[in-house]
Amino acid sequence: MAGPRASSGFRRPRFWRRLVPAAALWLLGFSVGVHAAPAYPEETVRRGQYLAVAGDCTGCHTNPRGGAPFAGGYGIVSPLGTIWSSNITPSRAAGIGAYTESQFTQALREGIRADGTHLYPAMPYPAYTGLSDEDVHALFAYFQQAVAPVDTRPPKTRLPFPFNLRVSMVVWNALFLRNTRFEADPSKSAAWNRGAYVVTALEHCGDCHTPRNLLMAEKSGRAFAGGPVKPWYAPNITPDPISGIGGWSHQEIVQYLKTGAVSPKSQAAGGMAEAVSDSLQYLHPEDVDAIVTYLETIPPIRADTDTRAAFDFGGPADFETSVRGVDTGQGSLAGGAALYSGNCASCHQPAGTGTKDQTFPVLFHNTVTGASQADNLISTILHGVDRDADGHRVFMPRFGEESYIQPLTDEQISTISNYVLQTFGNPNVLVSTKDVATARKGH
């Protein structure tokens, strides 16, 4: 697994980041029971470990600030209060050491803890419900046998009324939970079926990439069409060549999943950087290939307003003569070109080309600047990039208020964003200072 990373402010801005006050359905821990862990064959445990990585359990259940693996206690600051992830180590006192396999299965597939309490679907049980019996068994074996028990109880999550009423989840589940296992389509190849299983159940890609309805359930008919994961945006990953990733080659998508970067098209940040760092990079090559095989066949979805692929905008800039020798006085830099030059060009280069080796990526023909939403551009500037994949730590410092490099104001960030959009990206997108202020707060 990826090693511990320095704190990067916004960790885990996944699906639950959508859970703004309108509809808050949150994760809470498992509880305690009494049972002994049986011994499982090494092969089963190893398989369970792989599945745990593929399911990215660590994403929420390991505190990135030096927490023990799967001990939970990762505090998620939300508008409703702090949400604490649960301890899923085999500790009998604080974790799931006392769970029976059927209790574990019920938690995973139906979102019901051993004590009968309902989980919020921040725990992706609506996806995990598709997991096969064999895989659930292997996961159980892994967690009971190979994970070190940690007897520390994470703090209790206390949300205000009405979000504390877990009983409402019964209704939600009745409406939205399809408690059925993944079924292979015999008319499709083995690779396609494997890909469908990994995408829909194990990696729960739709959690972020499928837009949600008002009750926070995935919108039917809009699978993988993209949606906000505040303050980021999970893009359309259907094979539509304009709105989706139909313009990407098979190999490009494979490379992106393994490394988080395809030059010049896109670089993973936010939740996708975590998914790559914690999970996707460790998948077997045949599983990655299967994911792409499947994604290439899902129904393409086009946004009416999109006219060009996000990676098809912009070109190199040439602003040097407009900013050189101009007396900016001793105050602040004025204008997008000057702000870009002073704060961004040292790495991304004055022309926006990035460096030759693309350690610092090109800004044009880039989905972050060419997207129809500026969320990922704003959030990259505010919160930076932190990705650990392919043997490299990729790090762009944040320019939000905690920045050690330069804390930029909302106005400076909106000015830079608009300059970048006009010059390198989608000129139809405009960023307001309010957009930046909102993204700064994380929602």
Partner: protein, 549 residues
């Protein structure tokens, strides 16, 4: 979270710190962590990195070629710092070697860590015992062992990369490893070391407050080769990191606030420090503990300026040592063209250094030295030289490239001894825009330095032969290195020193003067890490005293 109280522009806090540079900011960080309320005043503005980067890019080539690290930084008009392009004559330099004390420093939040090479050297254990070991200079009242834990902590606070290999450490007496292994050597360092090391010059990596991997919110150094005058990407430690950390935890940081008066009361304890804001209005800060950490020039300057009835010769100055013993590493350069391409100028500006003559019995007679392999790109001097040859077109390009690749610049530092005659005083004639007396400095370097210079020249000529050097040149005028030391010197005897081993003023129970001014010996190495270690030691002292009271 305990926060300072502000009433009508006056401030009350547990701890009042003057100077938001590396020393002040680290002390603030420690004491905020102790739950104390902290107010920190800095005479200069807050700096916008992007603005300074653009100012640098807009600088005329003459300023760049002359290493103008000052002119690109905005100044508070009420708090001047030295400027040289053109000179503002803020400090009047006199004496035979006055011009060797033309210092660079920044008066701004973050201080001069805005433009430093981030070199984080430790003194050698023997550097603390110069008088006992070599019969010259002074002994510190504390030993290397006393300061060692604080060196470790300072390295951890700043994120220092240094060699894990004991054989490459100078000194190797360490209780904890560096936070990260050394910044890897490039071809130039490796090749140079291979040629000179068999002759005892002992090339070692320079410990430095930057890393080649992301660290604590800082990006990896990517070798812009521009540490001075500005790291354009913020990979290098800057005291603003600690400033931001303390502000986020409730400390009050006031920029453009020029301290000028210090009140003392019962038992000569400090009761208040007064400052002018940017509208020239006067305010005062009261507190339980006071820290003056401006720098090696501005701290004694303020103490002398703040003379009051009870302390007519200046604050903390019953010993008459405030402003005396001014030191800075006397520098000079050796340049030549090697007989092979060495490609200096890639990576950070300083990566390796010859320490073969950092210590030895000779120190009883003349100065030790350290010789930095200057890693600043030779592009500008190479171009100037090639142009002088009258070349044009491709021949000019080729010659510039050749000179950049083959060029060597060695920056040598010598160790001045503390001499009470090297003295900062208040000008009787010159006043700044607030009407405050400007500093005058008299500086004279004696035979200890001059003999050290001669010895180093012999070594350099030998090094030149190892590379079949052409155009071999050694500068004859000693230059400043901006390592300000000595002006509030530390000692055990209040009669001949200003502060004790914790940098607490002998004259005032609740006043600390940590930083370079306290250092009784300068060694030959950059002073920042020692200053930071002294800051942390002071912070522990302040914390324990505040806990008791």
């Amino acid at each position: 979270m305990k926060v300072p109280v502000v009433t009508d522009g006056d401030v009350t806090a547990d701890v009042v710190i003057i100077g938001a540079g590396v020393v002040g900011a680290m002390i603030a960080d420690q004491l905020v962590g102790e739950g104390q309320s902290v107010a920190m005043l800095d005479s200069g503005p807050r700096i916008d990195r992007g603005q300074v980067v653009e100012n640098w890019r807009d600088m005329p080539i003459k300023s760049r070629a002359g290493s103008d690290y000052q002119g690109l930084y905005p100044q508070n008009p009420y708090a001047p710092a030295p400027l040289y392009f053109p000179p503002n004559d803020y400090i009047d330099l006199s004496g035979p070697d006055g011009q060797s004390y033309a210092q660079d420093y920044i008066r701004a939040v973050g201080g001069t860590t805005w433009h430093w090479a981030a070199s984080c050297w430790r003194h050698l254990p023997v550097d603390f015992r110069m008088k006992s070991a070599y019969g010259v200079g002074r002994d510190w009242p504390i030993s290397y062992d006393d300061l060692e834990p604080y060196y470790c902590r300072a390295e951890e606070e700043m994120g220092v990369s240094g060699p894990h290999d004991l054989a490459l450490q100078s000194p190797s007496q360490r209780s904890r490893p560096y936070p990260s292994d050394m910044v890897p050597w490039g071809y130039s360092d490796t090749r140079f070391a291979r040629v000179v090391d068999p002759h005892g010059y002992n090339c070692v990596p320079i410990p430095q407050a930057r890393m080649v991997q992301p660290w604590n919110g800082r990006p990896a150094c990517c070798g812009n080769n521009n540490c001075m005058p500005i790291c354009p990407i913020g990979a290098m430690y800057n005291a603003v990191h600690h400033v931001q950390r303390v502000e986020a935890r409730g400390a009050l940081v006031l920029a453009d606030s020029v301290a000028y008066r210090i009140d003392t009361g019962a038992n000569n304890r400090v009761t208040a420090i007064h400052w002018y804001d940017s509208d020239r209005r006067s305010h005062k800060a009261t507190g339980r503990a006071f820290v003056v950490a401006c720098n090696g020039i501005e701290t004694p300057h303020l103490l002398l300026m703040a003379a009051n009835k009870m302390n007519p010769e200046g604050i903390a100055n019953s010993s008459d040592q405030v402003g005396r013993n001014m030191m800075d590493h006397s520098g000079f350069h050796c340049t030549f063209l090697a007989d092979e391409p060495l490609w200096f100028g890639r990576g950070p500006e300083q990566t390796s250094c010859m320490v073969g003559f950092r210590d030895g019995a000779f120190r009883s007679e003349y100065s030790a030295n350290k010789m930095i392999l200057y890693n600043i790109t030779r592009a500008i001097p190479a171009t100037e030289q090639a142009l002088k040859l009258g070349l044009v077109g491709q021949a000019l390009d080729d010659e510039i490239r050749r000179r950049v690749a083959f060029g060597v610049d060695i920056s040598i530092s010598l160790e001045p001894l503390p001499d009470p005659n090297n003295r900062l005083t208040l000008s009787k004639t010159r006043r700044d825009t607030l009407g405050l007396a400007c500093p005058d400095i008299y500086y004279e370097l004696g035979p200890y330095i001059h003999k050290g210079y001669d010895a180093a020249c012999d070594q350099l000529r030998h090094i030149g032969t190892l590379f079949n050097a052409t155009e071999f040149a050694i500068t004859t005028k000693l230059n400043a290195n901006n390592h300000l030391m000595g002006g509030t010197i530390m000692g055990s005897d209040p009669k001949d020193s200003v502060v004790d081993g914790n940098c607490r003023a002998h004259d005032h129970d609740n006043l600390w003067l940590p930083g370079g001014g306290a250092m009784p010996s300068s060694s030959v190495v950059n002073s920042t890490l020692s200053m930071a270690a002294l800051a942390l030691k002071s912070a522990d002292d302040i914390a324990s005293i505040l806990r008791k009271s």
